[in-house]
């Protein structure tokens, strides 16, 4: 009864059929599970150079530890295009008289751009939002929804979506703007070589946002800016990001630990202890609503994604340059590591309007549209060649004192990425996060 192949994400039957079609003798499921279990800790995250040896039906490259390849900077993954999930044909006419359904974070896509696209193609564009990546993944993997576009997919979750058969491969004939406008280093990124299943969307770095009229510490001048959370954080007004990866990596970066995709329980535990200290001292809250909380004074010190600073301007009166808000990326300080990342936009396999979805991606990768998106609504840069940091400072969302929020290509190369973990490693991280939330 439960295994109805029509709706079920990936039944065992599908999994085995897929591997058979790839022409490979697949070990039994039991063997896979055993391999995914305690035994497969031989590859250090980020350090391995070879793949697991045997061919993986989902893609080539990456490191082992999961049923699908895990991408690393020095072990890029090329995802396979499978026979039962081909890209759409080229040169099809876009669907008409329909509703393009977009699934996205809150405040992460300009409403006026959506309206504009709808008018241009004569369709309705409907947005459904999710609060956190886990919520979004849960909705999509439930198989109960038929969104066309899935925005804001983090690169540390994209592998399982591809392997689970939730994304459809992208036909780049519809998206000339990728080659024309997007940063070279993101046209064929390590996590999805040849951009087969995803296109880059927002980029950011993870730093510290604060109210400079309430927090007087000189965060920029600190030898280790992260220390402010441990030494000068205001009680009841400190907020941290509410997901396991960003939160624990804060603890790791503070200690100079750059391996933030680690599977070492000791490292994870040490980071957990660090964060627990902050929580105990400040009664910290966990959210990423800094764009609303910091301007109105619900939070004075917030661990933030740089784009959220830009988002804050949507909530402020026009012309307000927010002089009392500051942002700094600790990675800018010499010798201190920090996180940079980009996320992606993907097309769901269940999409009812795939041609329109492709067209929308092309639309959003237009430099002018990307600039509008960034400067009037989201606050998140898109990696466009035509958008230079210099051109942004002075715009509505990047006043002079917040030029620190702009991510340059050099910063992007300097920062450390959050990458996809093997399921059991992820369980370690999630358990540590739960323990922080539970206060133990």
């Amino acid at each position: 009864m439960p295994n109805q192949p029509m709706r079920r994400p990936l039944s065992r039957r599908d999994f085995l059929r897929r591997t058979a079609m790839a022409g490979i003798a697949m070990p039994s499921l039991g063997a896979i599970l055993a391999a995914c279990g305690s035994g497969a800790q031989d590859t250090e995250g980020g350090g391995a150079t070879a793949s697991t040896g045997e061919q993986n039906p989902f893609g080539t490259g990456g490191i082992g530890g999961a049923p699908y390849p895990l991408a690393r900077l020095d072990a890029p993954v090329t995802w396979n295009i499978l026979d039962d999930n081909p890209p759409i044909a080229s040169d099809l006419a876009p669907e008409t008289n329909t509703t393009l359904k977009i699934f996205n974070w809150n405040y992460y896509l300009s409403k006026s751009l959506m309206r504009q696209f709808g008018e241009q193609y004569g369709v309705t564009v409907e947005l459904t939002t999710f609060d956190d990546m886990v919520d979004g993944i849960a909705k999509v993997t439930s198989g109960q929804v038929d969104f066309d576009l899935f925005f804001g997919v983090q690169i540390y979750t994209i592998g399982r979506l591809i392997a689970g058969g939730f994304l459809q491969p992208i036909n780049q004939d519809y998206i000339p703007n990728l080659a024309a406008n997007v940063w070279d280093q993101l046209q064929s990124p390590f996590y999805d070589q040849e951009s087969r299943y995803s296109m880059p969307y927002g980029i950011w770095d993870t730093g510290i946002m604060w109210r400079n009229d309430q927090v007087t510490a000189d965060i920029v001048g600190l030898a280790n800016p992260y220390d402010v959370f441990w030494t000068d954080a205001p009680v009841d007004k400190t907020h941290l990001i509410n997901n396991s990866r960003d939160l624990l990596s804060l603890g790791m970066f503070r200690q100079g630990q750059t391996e933030v995709n680690t599977d070492d329980p000791a490292v994870i535990d040490a980071a957990k202890q660090q964060i627990a200290e902050v929580v105990a001292a400040t009664n910290a809250s966990f959210d990423h609503i800094d764009y609303a909380d910091v301007p109105r004074g619900r939070a004075y010190l917030h661990q933030s994604w740089s784009g959220n600073v830009g988002s804050a301007f949507y909530f402020l009166p026009e012309g307000d340059t927010a002089p009392n808000i500051s942002y700094y990326w600790p990675g800018s300080t010499e010798g201190i590591p920090g996180n940079v990342d980009n996320d992606t936009v993907t097309i769901l396999k269940s999409a009812k309007n795939p041609v329109l979805a492709h067209k929308f991606i092309d639309f959003i990768l237009d430099t002018q549209n990307a600039t509008t998106n960034y400067t009037t609504y989201t606050g998140y840069q898109q990696p466009m060649k035509g958008i230079t940091p210099e051109s942004l400072v002075g715009s509505a969302v990047v006043p002079e004192h917040l030029s620190t929020t702009v991510v340059s290509e050099e910063d992007f190369a300097k920062g450390y990425r959050l990458l996809e973990l093997a399921p059991d490693v992820e369980a370690l991280w999630e358990s540590a996060y739960q323990e922080i939330l539970a206060g133990v």
């Binding site: 009864m1 439960p2 849960a138 993997t141 689970g164 959210d287 999630e430 739960q434 539970a438």
Partner: protein, 334 residues
């Protein structure tokens, strides 16, 4: 055929009540053709069948699915839960993990469970303290204004709960009315951070949200106390306090029990009040852990286990409530 009441009741004539027989009817029947008095035994119970089936499928079976998920496995790729339908192959790992984390002092659910019980007990007690006088007022002293007060009391039931809570967020904010009033009256100098994660705010929110459920059964029961009993007590020389203690309070006992349960039980499943009014680690309740577990695929089985544990915890008051209401309704019929 003939259905004169003088005839002895047959087993099959469901319509004949237990009332006294033998009332003669001499009026001729209206229609020449009467339907037979005989109806199969299943006729009336069949009315209950649709709802019964509905509940079996969408209530009882849903619990079985919860059991199957709790005791099931995990899909290897997406780590989503894979329910185990065959009880013989149930895996108790998730349940064991959950229970050990509740019972051990450093378990992740331990503090939350204790906290939830503490909050619910406190809030329910406060609801009683506030609700009983108001119910008493409504039942006995509102007089000709009763209709108006009743309408105003019932108003929250059809006004969005979320809206009222959002209004409290605005009121309790650092620059909200409450803080401004306190500062204006000179009672404080700096704004009090009501929304910074205080248990008191959370309990306040719970009381505000659920006190109508306390008032309802109390009102129903206090309304039913006949004025004659109170008058008689007074005539026999009892002081008002004694009247209350000896007449009103015992008579309302069932209402108090019903109110405690109807008001208190839903609080155990509350998570959104915490999220809106006191969103920090120090106030997280069991409900928060449950909804969050459902979002992380590897933890869904634990969330389902939490549901089962919560249900097991509450089954005693639930059954007691069901037993006492069925006894009460039988007493009222007698």
């Amino acid at each position: 055929m003939s259905r004169r009441s003088g005839r002895a009741r047959t087993k099959r004539s469901w319509l004949v009540s237990d009332a006294a027989p033998g009332v003669g009817r001499s009026r001729p029947r209206r229609s020449a053709q009467t339907r037979g008095a005989w109806f199969p035994r299943w006729f009336w119970p069949s009315f209950a069948t649709p709802a019964t089936l509905f509940l079996l499928v969408f209530f009882v079976f849903a619990f079985y699915v919860t059991l199957a998920v709790t005791f099931g496995g995990i899909d290897p790729i997406l780590q989503t839960p894979d329910p185990q339908w065959n009880p013989a192959r149930w895996d108790t790992g998730a349940l064991a993990y959950t229970i050990s984390n509740i019972t051990h002092t450093d378990g992740i659910y331990h503090a939350a469970f204790l906290r939830t019980i503490a909050y619910v007990v406190t809030a329910t007690f406060l609801c009683l303290v506030i609700g009983y006088p108001f119910a008493y007022f409504l039942a006995r002293h509102a007089g000709r204004w009763r209709g108006l007060f009743l309408a105003l009391f019932l108003a929250p039931f059809w006004i969005s709960y979320m809206l009222r809570m959002t209004a409290w967020i605005g009121l309790l904010d650092d620059d909200g009315l409450v803080n401004r009033a306190l500062q204006g009256l000179g009672l404080t100098n700096a704004p009090i951070g009501f929304l910074d994660g205080r248990p008191s705010t959370l309990i306040f929110g719970l009381v505000y949200g659920y006190v109508p459920f306390m008032v309802l059964p109390l009102f129903a029961v206090l309304d039913r106390i006949p004025a004659s009993s109170l008058e008689a007590s007074r005539d026999l020389g009892a002081s008002p306090r004694a009247t209350f203690r000896r007449i009103t309070l015992p008579a309302s006992r069932q209402g108090i029990v019903a109110g405690l349960i109807i008001c208190g039980l839903p609080m155990f499943g509350d998570y959104f009040t915490q999220q809106l009014l006191a969103d920090t680690n120090g106030t997280r309740m069991v409900g928060n852990f449950i909804v969050e577990s459902l979002q992380i695929p590897i933890f869904v089985a634990r969330g389902a286990a939490l549901i089962l544990v919560l249900l097991a915890l509450l089954v005693v008051p639930i059954v007691y409530y069901l037993y006492s209401t069925s006894r009460a309704s039988r007493e009222r019929l007698a």
